[in-house]
């Protein structure tokens, strides 16, 4: 009951936050010099002033900033994300197309990183100062310091060009007409390298954090107490330490989960993965404001929702938490 009230309260307070984000995004975006018409005309290499005026009129850029804002908010109130004039299509359909591949990549990478990171951190902490610890610490340090794009390119060189095991890029084999499990396997083969190069960074982060967190908890008085009561080391670890050690992981994961929807521009670019990160980047480059604002809006909503979920998780992990 208390939980339901808490969630309800958070949802209500989220509304002004999101509205504020919309306003701020809108204003910030309009601070950037240049507009979509001049970029489009620039890419064409030629244009007449009349043609550019017509483009600006079509894009709604000839209206005052206030009018543009009113139009935008009216659209949003009607649950419409607007129209991407540059791409000549609805913003929502552009985003929906990318949502699947983005979630697939990010959830795979993030899930793998989280699970493996926790396990490796635990293994390193329980075997502190043994070879296990040294190897895991060293590997995670290297992984943490390696740029994702470099790792990605190296994987392409070795796994695709030299060994020919995996396709270099893309979401699936275009034109192969694969169906059912064959298609799933095909997408999986394309997913391996981008997910791995993305996961490695997060994995290193979680492994290091988990190790530190577990070590910190094992020094606590309650562990000594538990040990004095004669509990087994395994029981101390799973029943007491793990629960507490997970709290910082949940906090960090919650913050980073907000990036999920944003995708990863670098990894998407290297592997030609059709994600939202590159969509947002291109929208920014071409001043496709409706599209950019929509991506910001969805990201903001997701961050708010994930924060609520994280708070709920705190409740379950640590009943002492108060709202």
């Amino acid at each position: 009951m208390r939980l339901a009230r808490f969630v309800g309260y958070r949802l209500v307070t989220a509304v002004p936050v999101i509205f504020g984000i919309i306003v701020l995004n809108f204003l910030l975006i309009h601070l950037a010099p240049g507009d979509a018409a001049s970029v489009l005309a620039g890419e064409s290499g030629a244009a007449t002033p009349e043609y550019m005026d017509e483009l600006r009129h079509k894009f709604g850029l000839d209206q005052s900033l206030v009018m543009q804002f009113v139009n935008y908010v009216t659209n949003m109130a009607h649950f419409s994300l607007g129209y991407s004039y540059r791409n000549d299509t609805d913003v929502s359909s552009l985003i929906v197309e990318r949502l699947g591949p983005t979630c697939l990549l990010m959830l795979t990478a993030f899930g793998t990183a989280l699970a493996l990171g926790i396990i490796l951190g635990l293994v390193a902490a329980t075997g502190r100062n043994t070879w296990r610890d040294s190897v895991i610490s060293l590997v995670s340090l290297v992984a943490y310091a390696t740029p994702g794009f470099w790792l990605g390119l190296m994987m392409i060189v070795i796994l695709s060009i030299r060994l020919g095991w995996l396709p270099t890029s893309g979401y699936d084999t275009v034109g192969a007409g694969l169906e059912g499990w064959a298609h799933v396997r095909d997408v999986g083969r394309h997913l391996v390298m981008p997910a791995a190069s993305l996961a490695l960074f997060y994995l290193a982060l979680y492994a290091r954090l988990m190790r530190a967190s577990v070590l910190e908890q094992t020094g606590m008085d309650y562990v000594t107490t538990a040990r004095a009561k004669g509990q087994t080391e395994r029981r101390i670890m799973t029943g007491h330490v793990l629960r507490n050690a997970l709290l910082p992981i949940v906090t960090l994961a919650g913050v980073q989960a907000g990036n999920l929807i944003g995708g990863s521009i670098v990894v998407e670019t290297v592997f030609g993965w059709p994600g939202i990160g590159t969509l947002a980047f291109n929208a920014l480059q071409s001043r496709d404001l409706n599209l950019l604002l929509a991506i910001f809006f969805i990201s903001a909503c997701l961050v708010v929702i994930i924060n609520i979920i994280v708070d709920v998780l705190y409740f379950t992990l640590d009943p002492r938490m108060e709202t």
Binding site: A32, P33, G34, D35, S38, V39, L40, A41, G42, E43, S44, G45, A46, A47, T48, P49, Y51, M52, E54, L55, K58, R86, N87, D88, T89, L94, E97, R98, F149, L153, I156, V157, S160, I161, G164, P167, T168, S169, G170, Y171, V174, G175, E268, T269, V270, F271, G272, P274, G275, T278, L279, N282, L284, Q285, S286, R287
Partner: protein
Amino acid sequence: MANDPQLNKITRRTALSLPLGLAASSPVVSGFAKAEEKPGEPVRGGTMVMIVQPEPPTLAHYAVTAGSIPLIATQIYEGLVTYDWDQNLKPHLATSWDIAPDGKSITFKLREGVLFHNGKPFTSADVQFSFMEILKKYHPFAPLFLADLTGVDTPDELTAVLRFENPAPYLMKALAGRDMPMMCKSVFEGTPILQNPSANRPIGTGPFKFGQWERGQFVRLDRNEKYWKPGLPYLDHIIARFIPDAATRSAALETGEAHFASYSAINYADLDRMKSNPILDTTMKGYEMTPALSVLELNAKHPPLDKKEVRQAIAYAIDRKVILRDVMYGYGQPATGPLSRLFKSVGFYTDDVRNYDVPDRLEIANKLLDAAGLPRGANGMRFSVHLEVNSFGEQWLRQAEYLKQALATVGIDLTLRSEDTATWLRRVYTNYDFDINEPFLSQGVDPVYGLNKQYLTSQIRKGVTFVNDSFYSNPEFDNILLTAMRESDHEKRAALYKKAQQILAEDCPLIWLIDVQYVSVFNRKLRDHTPGPLGPQQAFEQAWLEK
């Protein structure tokens, strides 16, 4: 003039254009020179994957000419004519043409039995609508190429007469599908042209039909079963793939995932590796009608760049051979003046102009600057200016870094400024808040395009990109260009353009750096991919894949 193209046959030219040898010693010698003849019977079927970079924003080929659109759109849309290797007109949608003695009208006889992808027959009404309602109103080049077009008469279904206010010799090289595509009237009629859904689902007469567009991934084109050339095209599908990262694009060719990449899709730096790969080869053919120069634009409103001597000194101070070697990896040639060498074959190019590439160029530059009243200061520098770095790729930053060094040797302190495309274009072409700009200029198929747009007084148009932003204004020169534009006699035209190039080289409103050479990389299994001078910007109807 009106004979049908030989269908179904590989011509001698196309066979020759197939480079099949091993890597050559010099990077500049392409596959063409080392070609060893390897005849083969074309096979039907197969899916060709080509790399297109960047992903086009739309396929509205008739209203937006952004670089990568024609690579896809010319598979779908066709023009009235096409061109042979000597850039002579070749029949295509029109079987013959007749230019009136006064040059003010051209009568096209149209091919019978051509169908649009929606099943509608192609008639003179489509020609009229395409020219008058779409191209003349919305094509970015229309103010140059179609300004004199007053109407299109349609005496019968298969005859279209283009009428002009003045003779339009410059149009004769711009009638292929790349520059003047033919659209279906019934698709556009009664709708706002720019909002037409065919922007993303084009309907043309070409050998390939639009299939599917997965944004961020690929466009799929399907074989047009009812194409008017019997038996063609050979391929079942063409997939245009979009891969944002340059290294991955190269990798996709090396693994055989992609068969073809053109223009700047593959970095010059990677080309040597591509050539040494046994499954790949390269060619420089197919760019004969795509002249382009890299240049510097000098803002004559910003002193001391208003002085001719200062502009000339900058032109002398730059060693184009260094740019060619270190920035362009040897692909291209040092530019000698305002026109690309590609205009040589049609008689318009001349190198009989002020030569800035002389052994004592640094002494001359220093002398000119001294004479302009710009002595070196305490730090050895005479004056400071900003260079706006081209945002379309990192090679331009490398070029800018060289320019900074080169100009410092004659006492000009260059500060580099890199901004994103929208900011850069706004600063240069709308706010005119720049000293030196570093653009890359496509020169079109006729001097009218590259010269008129860039140097006419009337082309100083605030807010319009890639026009006269150096404030060059010379009434005598304007006169020559406008006369040359309408001169039907080729010899007289050529003489006028020679004079124009000499005046420009002397006045030096721009500094011409490199005559650009593009390169196509292809898988050796892909054959007959470059059948004419428009190369990747014409349809792959004759291309086929070895089994």
